[in-house]
Amino acid sequence: MSGAVGREPVFPTRQSLGLMKSKLKGAETGHSLLKRKSEALTKRFREITRRIDEAKQKMGRVMQIAAFSLAEVSYAVGGDIGYQVQESAKQARFRVRAKHENVSGVFLPQFESYTKDGINDFALTGLGKGGQQIQRCRETYARAVETLVELASLQTAFLILDEVIKVVNRRVNAIEHVIIPRTENTIKYINSELDELDREEFYRLKKVSNKKQRDNAAADAEILAARQKKKEAELQAQKSTPAQEATGATDATEAAEATEEAAEPEEPEPVDVLGEQEDNDVIF
């Protein structure tokens, strides 16, 4: 009964049986829903993984092209512009904003790049020469950064999905391997206990009715016996009364006649009478 997962600490009553049954039903519904959620997320996850792989390859190519255009710039300018660029950077023109997308209740952020107008930190860069190359380089790098932003949103989605899928799968497994077996165990336990109580009750009722029957039979027998005895006693009384009356009368006359003569023969007679009465008393 109490397998590896045990059962819940409940009293085996019909009420808790009902509770457990509804709990089992809820757990099964939840399990199937979570399972579906996990499948939807996994599908999305695989798609994102595939796209990450592609985007990383693309990023490699794009960055190579960008680096090449930068090399063109340093050739055209004829010196290093790094320092000048670093010093003149003030406000970010290229920014990202995050939108979010809802995948089965999970919010996946999606970075979206936009350029803030009116900010141009590098208006003077390449003023002397190589301005055209610098312009081209900026465009190339802007495209490269867009690719990077796309990749970053994929990667963030990947990380979040990874975590969420783990959590969901943990829940699915917990319901499947712990909650459902335990609830089933509990239901089995309650059922067996209730059956046991039923059997006990049945046996008890049987015993009680047996006892009642026996008592009734005994009482009947007693009444019958009593009646019998009464009859017998009545018969006996009918037989003995004439003789008793005769003796009583003679006794009385004798006593009245000879009280002074002797008290000895009188005494046994009242004893006899008493004995008779006593018998009568017992019978009735």
Partner: protein, 124 residues
């Protein structure tokens, strides 16, 4: 979910840790941002052969932990190698840490912390 809307609402900037060429290029694209004085903070760090690893480490921690306006941290892969432990241990979704190739160091997918996880998940 751990990443609520508030955590990435005001993350608008990108940050770079890279060699001079990468940083210059990305700055030309317009991602450079310097916060207002008195505590002027740049969102980029130029790393060369003389830069200490501890300095890279500190910049990485600043960009990932302290600053709340950075959405994406770009880091050159060969620099990420130097602070590999921190990069691998940083698993929060925000900001997104992205390893990018540099001119002298072609991109190697085997070393990327995210791609490593991708590969591991699919058992390749």
């Amino acid at each position: 979910m751990a990443a609520s809307a508030a955590t990435y609402k005001d993350r608008q900037l990108l940050a770079v840790i890279g060699d001079e060429d990468s940083v210059t290029g990305l700055l030309l694209a317009g991602i450079g941002h310097v916060t207002d004085p008195p505590e002027a903070q740049r969102n980029f760090l130029v790393v060369d052969a003389k830069t200490e690893t501890s300095e890279i480490e500190r910049a990485f921690q600043t960009f990932t932990q302290e600053r709340k306006d950075i959405a994406i941290v770009l880091i050159n892969q060969h620099i990420a190698e130097r602070i590999r432990n921190s990069v691998d241990n940083f698993t929060d979704p925000f900001p997104a840490v992205l390893e990018i190739p540099s001119k002298d160091h072609p991109y190697d997918p085997e070393k990327d912390s995210v791609l490593k996880r991708v590969r591991r998940l699919f058992g390749e």
